[in-house]
């Protein structure tokens, strides 16, 4: 889990914060509230998750509850990986 969290943080920081702000991004920060991600970003995030973790994300799963913070992402991903194995 620690691993996944680190990987996700790194992806978000590299791609949406232009490598900046490692110290400022808290795990429960809403990407929406912080203005970190836009709709193109959501689609990039999904491509990353699908390729990296070999999962299939369904359209209806693209909601803030699953994707809108590091914590939400970790929780969502763990559920997906459990169902996959």
């Amino acid at each position: 889990m620690q691993n996944i969290q680190q990987e996700l943080r790194q992806f978000v920081i590299d791609n949406f914060l232009f490598g900046h702000g490692n110290g400022n991004l808290r795990n429960d920060d809403s990407f929406l509230d912080k203005g970190i991600i836009d709709s193109t970003g959501v689609l990039e995030l999904v491509v990353f998750l699908e390729e990296k973790y070999h999962i299939k994300i369904h359209d209806r799963e693209l909601v803030p509850d699953n994707l809108d913070s590091i914590n939400n992402l970790v929780r969502f991903l763990e559920t997906k990986l459990q169902h996959a194995s």
Binding site: L17, G19, D38, V42
Partner: protein
């Protein structure tokens, strides 16, 4: 007629109708009317006078909608500032128009509060979502919006009218070629005229349900709520299009009839898997900001065969210029149509003489929708508002090059100046260049717009570095995103050893504006 009457008349006609749906909240026309009256009373009691400027610095939210109408009800002038605006620019705008109050949320308040000393004209913060009552011993008073709405202190009853329709209703800040934003002054008459023309050709009625994902700081987004309230429709407000499926589900659930788009949103929409959704309630889609690529038009027509698709064009200085009637979209997909009702448009040459069909010239707009001018910027105003056919009247020179076919349909060619239009927003290259020059290591910077099918134009920065400086593309984008609104951050960064110069030593931008990937 005044703009706040859009709300007041609809609240009289159908007080219990749902006016606004935003996240989990649903408000009736009566609730919006009463709460905006409360806020208007509070503004007045705190010293806001007729004609004062009040800034709204909020994400798309219930409070943003209430604030717009409350400011107008108080007889004041509202400006909605893009919520991604950074402190320096926010301070410039607030000081430029000498705003007396700022309505914002607790998170943004925490950011702005540090800069209070740089805001000598501001007297009050009205803040939503405050957890604790902030100390009120300072020069700048802080009031909680929730306390104000939930308490009995401020009346829910309407206020006496102070303004007439040639008074200012709004300022909308837009990029200028000097690099500093300019406030477009809109009177009540300007807004009422534009809203009347647009709702006429869109055939809006009280049965419409309009879904808006565009920021209310963008005039296209702002007008959605004004027009919805004008016709007594239901307005569904989303913060953004970040989670497209959540928005689509809402669209289906709320039986949305009207969907305003820009090309970036249509591009995302067309990537989604939409076959399981029921779009039977959708009546029309509008597009403006940049022309839709022709293959998007075809795909949207296939996806929504029963929906009327309006291709439109406009600029903040007059709101909207033209629309293409939906039955023409298959006939002339690259046209942005004709002038809207109660407005005249024509094309002139460099001497101001009208030109014939298919001749390229500058587009001129004549109508009561044309702005009053730029706030306290007479030189800039005189450049675009020039004498028209009638003695004493002014018409708007758009700075956009167009041609018109034999039947009067308009085709956009290019901008006359170097202003970039990206995602429907104007960006001054100078403003971006000034930020770039603020980054240690940059010797020279030139910012140009390059053609982009989706964005209209994409921003490209071409940079030379000082000796020994080591900057990456990411360093530059990071610096820009910390200092500029999101839409102004360059999409492409190119490093060069030197920049091409003209004989007078100026950077030659013409040579730089080569599309990325166009064989070098």
């Amino acid at each position: 007629m005044q703009v706040e009457q859009f709300l007041e008349l609809s609240a009289q006609r159908s007080p219990d109708k749902t006016a606004l749906v935003c996240q989990e909240r649903r408000l009736t026309y009566r609730e919006i009317e009463e709460q905006s009256n409360q806020l208007a009373h509070a503004l007045i009691e705190n010293g806001v006078e007729r004609g004062d400027r009040v800034a709204i610095y909020l994400d798309n939210s219930v409070e943003a909608v209430l604030s717009i109408f409350a400011v107008l009800k108080a007889g004041a002038v509202f400006l909605v500032v893009n919520p991604t605006t950074k402190p320096d620019k926010l301070a410039y705008i607030l000081n430029n128009c000498r705003a007396v109050a700022l309505i914002t949320d607790s998170r943004k308040y925490a950011g702005v509060e540090k800069y209070s000393a740089q805001l000598p004209f501001l007297n009050h913060f009205f803040v939503t979502g405050l957890h604790a009552t902030p100390p009120n011993d300072r020069r700048l008073k802080v009031l909680s919006l929730e306390n104000l709405f939930n308490g009995a202190r401020f009346s829910k009853l309407p206020l006496p009218k102070k303004c007439i329709d040639i008074d200012l209703a709004a300022l909308i800040y837009t990029s200028g070629s000097t690099g500093k934003p300019k406030g477009v002054m809109l009177t009540h008459l300007n807004i009422v005229s534009a809203a009347t023309s647009i709702t006429t050709y869109l055939e809006n009625t009280t049965d419409d349900v309009i879904l808006n994902v565009l920021p209310l700081s963008f005039d296209y987004g702002l007008y959605q709520v004004l027009m919805a309230f004008k016709v007594g429709a239901t307005f569904v407000l989303e913060r953004s299009f970040t989670y497209p499926y959540a928005v689509i589900e809402k669209l289906v659930r709320e039986k949305v009839t009207g969907l305003p788009l820009v090309p970036t949103i249509s591009a995302i929409l067309l990537q989604l898997n939409l076959q399981d959704f029921d779009f039977s309630s959708l009546r029309y889609i509008t597009n403006t900001a940049a022309a839709l690529p022709t293959h998007h038009i075809l795909q949207l027509r296939n996806l929504f065969p029963h929906v009327k698709l309006y291709s439109m064009y406009g600029l903040t200085e007059c709101k909207r210029v033209s629309y293409l009637p939906p039955d023409q979209i298959d006939v002339r997909p690259s046209s942005v149509g004709r002038g809207m009702p109660n407005e005249e448009v024509y094309i002139v040459d460099d001497h101001g003489r009208r030109v014939g069909p298919n001749v390229i010239g500058e587009l001129v707009v004549r109508g009561s929708n044309v702005m009053k001018g730029y706030w306290e910027a007479p030189d800039a105003t005189n450049k675009v508002l020039r004498p028209g056919p009638l003695p004493g009247e002014n018409v708007l020179y758009t700075g956009d090059l167009f041609k018109m076919d034999e039947e009067g349909f308009l085709y956009f060619i290019a901008r006359k100046d170097d202003i970039i239009k990206t995602r429907g927003e104007k960006v001054s290259p100078k403003e971006v260049e000034e930020v770039l020059y603020g980054l240690e290591g940059i010797a020279e910077a030139a910012v140009v717009g390059i053609p982009d099918e989706i964005l209209g134009q994409a921003i490209k920065a071409v940079i030379t570095l000082r000796d020994g400086a080591q900057l990456t593309e990411r360093d530059v984008q990071r610096h820009c995103s910390a200092n500029l609104e999101d839409f102004m951050v360059p999409k492409f960064i190119e490093f060069r050893d030197s920049l091409p110069k003209t004989s007078s030593g100026k950077i030659s931008k013409r040579e730089l504006a080569v599309p990325v990937g166009a064989g070098e």
